[in-house]
Every structure is written in C-alpha cells, then in structure tokens.
Amino acid sequence: MANSNLPRRIIKETQRLLSEPAPGISASPSEENMRYFNVMVLGPSQSPYEGGVFKLELFLPEEYPMAPPKLGRICLDILKDKWSPALQIRTVLLSIQALLSAPNPDDPLSENVAKHWKSNEVEAVETAKEWTRLYATGA
C-alpha cells in the first residue's frame, strides 16, 4: 500500500542513488516504505567530523518534489525557503555533507552550540571531534 503509485521521479532518483552513490554518502529506501530512506554520511576529511559515520532519516512527503525532503531538524536553507523542485535527494545530501565541512553558526538549531562556536572555535572544534569519536564511530 505504502509503495503503490510511487512517482516516476522518485523511482529514478532512487535508482541513481543506488547505482551511482555520491562519495561518502549512502541512501537506501526502506522496503516497507520507499519514501523513507536510511542515510549515512561520512564526516568529511579535514573536518572535526572526520572518521565519523552520521546516520540520518530522510522522508519524501506526498508533495515531493514540490516540497523539500524532510530530514529531521537541520537548519539548511534548501530544506526551507530555498527549495526548488530542480534540486534532488542527492543535492540535499551533498549540502549536508558540505555543512559538516563548514558549519554555519549564524543559522543554528542549537543556540548554545552556536555561541560556543563563536566565542571559542578551537574548543568547539575539540568538542565536535570528541562527540564524533564517542557517538559516530560505531565503536
């Protein structure tokens, strides 16, 4: 039922994500719900998140591609007002990977983390490295 009438656009995007995955990114749809993806993004090298594997959930709402994919609570302009149906799942995931290389403390989800980042970037980067080691290495 959940997979009936899946739009061609979603099928195409999914096939391409599986056959030509972007470097450091994997996205695979759930069997019961082809609009629901398990995503893994590798922390970019030279970033505090290097060595980490970040798991995300992505969901394509009924209005997709007129509305953006949903990805939990991430502050990213293309997931809000800058969305365009010309963008794709792949573009969104690449943007998230880029966000890990260049965090944007001017548009934060967590005010506290942003404050820390602005007042003492060296220390904030250390915290990011430690949390990556503790929570994102699957050790």
């Binding site: 039922m1 959940a2 997979n3 009936s4 009438n5 759930s30 719900n33 609009r35 629901y36 959930e57 969901f59 709402p61 009924e62 949903k70 939990g72 609570r73």
Partner: protein, 146 residues
Amino acid sequence: MTIGSAGSSVVVPRNFRLLEELERGEKGIGDGSVSYGMDDSDDIYMRSWTGTIIGPHNSVHEGRIYQLKLFCDKDYPEKPPTVRFHTRVNMTCVNPESGMVEPKKFGMLVNWQREYTMEDILTQLRKEMAAPHNRKLVQPPEGTYF
C-alpha cells in the same frame, strides 16, 4: 490540517510524524483549550510529552487545568501512546489510583488508528469531560496530583 494524511497511500514514518506534531504543538492549537509539548528535547526518540487540557464549560471541570503525560513508544503511531493524568481527576475512563486513561474505557485508544494524533486524544478527553456521565462527578481538590 490532517497530520496523518488519511486516505492517501503515503505513510509518514514515526519520527517525521512526531516532528510534525511537535511543530504543530509549538505553534499552538486553536483556542488553546488543549496543548502539548515535548518533555526532553535531547531524547532523539521524542517519547515523553506533557499535555494540558482546560476544563470545558458547563461541567465540574470548568476553570480547572489538567496536566497529562503521554508516552509515544517506538511503535507509535502504529500503536497508541500511553496516556496518564498527572493532575487528579475523577472520570469514568481514568484509573482512580494511577491516573492512567484506560484504553478499554476510552474508545479512541482501543480503536486506535494511525492517523490519530496527540491533539486528537486531548480534544477527545476534553469532550469526554463534558459528557453526561462525567460532567457532574465530584472532583478531587484542585492542585492535587496522582
């Protein structure tokens, strides 16, 4: 607005459904007679919620404010949340010892459907307070808790 997209083949997975409910709760619902929010913003599973019901007019509950705890386990919204009154109340569907809303006595929980939301539960409980079998029941003193 219907959160569960009834009648469509699109199934919103648990965490996205709870995020929708969270956003809706943060914006504020209707006239404010029911409201809810998440207890712990660090819980990535978004399990524990607090709801509030303002007692309906023309009942013994008028002017009272009731606090409830809703717990959405990992099988929500396939399964209903557990719902427990924190503020003491005397209602036919509420266990007088624990404050638990008893699914067998509250149709919405026993005949649960995936489209139902926490808002629907709170709204339905408020209606239940004003129902003939509840609206005149003697109530515990205000400001007492289970």
